[in-house]
Symmetry: C2
């Protein structure tokens, strides 16, 4: 149960099953054992865009965790969304991938996202930087 793949699969299953379950029906999870889902974003061949968001947090949560989860959920529904990768230690880094600049612009202007951006500037972030970049080449294993 310590495998990050399994954790992700369970999180994924919960997020995508619970809200679609009709009231009273029993909940079952299908875990695809032996088929590890990659934690890295499965992006298409370049070119595509990366939004590199780096930040340092203020002290305390102040609703941050809930908002961060909601923003990922919301971003996934946007046209042109290709994936996201995120980690936080002293610095938080979230890289989201997008098909084109138009998709990034629409996501930035999303009304719920605008509220989160406002709260981010006011309460959650001590500092942040957003970098809009065009991925020209990629490789990996």
């Amino acid at each position: 149960m310590d495998s990050p793949y399994l954790k992700l699969l369970i999180n994924f299953s919960m997020a995508h099953s619970l809200e679609k379950m009709p009231s009273g029906e029993s909940i079952s999870f299908v875990i695809c054992q032996g088929v590890p889902m990659s934690l890295l974003a499965n992006t298409p061949n370049p070119p595509y865009y990366a939004v590199i968001f780096t930040s340092t947090r203020t002290e305390g949560d102040h609703g941050y965790g809930e908002m961060a989860n909601r923003m990922v959920e919301l971003a996934e529904q946007q046209p042109g969304y290709l994936g996201v990768e995120s980690a936080r230690e002293d610095v938080g880094i979230t890289v989201s991938y997008w098909a084109d600049l138009e998709s990034i612009k629409s996501w930035k202007a999303n009304s719920e996202h605008l509220e989160a951006q406002k709260a981010g500037r006011k309460s959650w972030y001590e500092s942040f930087k957003v970098r809009i970049s065009k991925v020209e080449r990629d490789y990996g294993i």
Copy 2:
């Protein structure tokens, strides 16, 4: 002493003072209290380049921690290097910033870095992705 700023300043001072100190001389640190150094990379106005390196690790260290520190130290000495940001949870993300593609190419071909890349493929990473991207716009607080 828990402030990440202070930790960074001490690490910075140690790294940059110890090797330059003539033998027998006493060591003193100057900590710039009240002037927090940002943990985010202090990049110039765009355009510049970002290398987005994301990975998942294999189990155990196998010399990884030492190599990772050495690679940051080495990258900082490369021409065209502009800064780095790094965090790891389930996924590790390291974004390094560079003046141009030529600098990235030289860094990739650095002999000590080539050794690390080979060991990375063989032992340290379960999966990784390198994305070379051109930063077109940035903003922040």
